[in-house]
Symmetry: C2
Amino acid sequence: MKSDKISEAVVRRLPVYLRYLNELHHREVPTVSSQELGQKLDLNPAQIRKDLAYFGDFGRKGIGYDVSYLIEKIRQILKLDQQINVVLVGAGNLGHALSNYNAFLKDNMKIVAVFDAHTSKVGSRINNLTVQPMEELTSTIQDHGIRIGIITVPDVEAQNVADRLVASGIEAILNFAPIILKAPPQIRIHTADFTTDLQSLAYYLDNGKEEVKDAATEMGH
Amino acid sequence: MKSDKISEAVVRRLPVYLRYLNELHHREVPTVSSQELGQKLDLNPAQIRKDLAYFGDFGRKGIGYDVSYLIEKIRQILKLDQQINVVLVGAGNLGHALSNYNAFLKDNMKIVAVFDAHTSKVGSRINNLTVQPMEELTSTIQDHGIRIGIITVPDVEAQNVADRLVASGIEAILNFAPIILKAPPQIRIHTADFTTDLQSLAYYLDNGKEEVKDAATEMGH
């Protein structure tokens, strides 16, 4: 584990809490209980109370969590109260889709530059940004203080792009190529391979049907 | 929790194990230890042993796990040894990107139909599929035994699409719209909002620097 302060599982759940809390805030709901959060997010309420207790005693018995206060705290913990600049490498369909993702522009996290290795893509416009050639990657990252890189290039190019991002001073990478990237241990890499999401969905497909119970019994559960 | 058999956290990790195991298998590596898996996947080896012990005693002390056998077992557990047909609704940039995702075609999981509500998209070709009008959604899902739906439409259309997928007999949804969808409890929904991936990355940005330690101390850690 690169951080022993808060487990990765908790860090990964915080943005999910945040998204729903923002929704509640938008609907002007002032407080929420761990039961409600649990029901909505398909998590055990005890797990939610434990996760949130990491950061201090937010909840009040019988009243629940103050929505605004919890949003503020989670944003602080995730450092979303800072401006964080992001670079995207790979201006294909996925790169286009991500650049257009409006949810981004909230929380001071922003794609400020897009790169592509292919001359046919360079110079085209994506969401008010001009696709730049790879030669400008390092200088752009340094000039804009860019700290996170998103990789949306084909598999075979992904490791090379990761190496260049790391050499240019990027601290964390969100990788959409379905391969496992190598990087120095201080570089945090999350892989957003949607096939793993689909594969874990498959597990739930027969849920509640007899054959699942049989299989579970055979396996000693 | 919709399933009390295996925790969601474990189910979500299994495809990640599978991806790396497939990589090892491709490189003709016969066995792997929980230490190696842990290092590669940034997980505690004890956690990995615990996860895999859910399904029986796969590992052998001093030798590790048999890669081929573990792949086979995980595929069975995730039901990836079945043919699973998937429908995609929303033929924009993201829909295009996902349809072209080759990693998909492995493991018998396949997008067999693409839909869009906009007449300008209907009839266009994506990866050997013709974009169909929404009127054909229900009949196509039933004719092809489609069980999983992927939603890549704009936020405002996502709930309506989810309702139609559910009414057509879909069992699970992978949602890319950055909103929380409502559905009956037996329908499993995963939200693949990449902004949550980015937000959890932000947590790790200052990792190892002084200010983090100070913040942690203030919070009583």
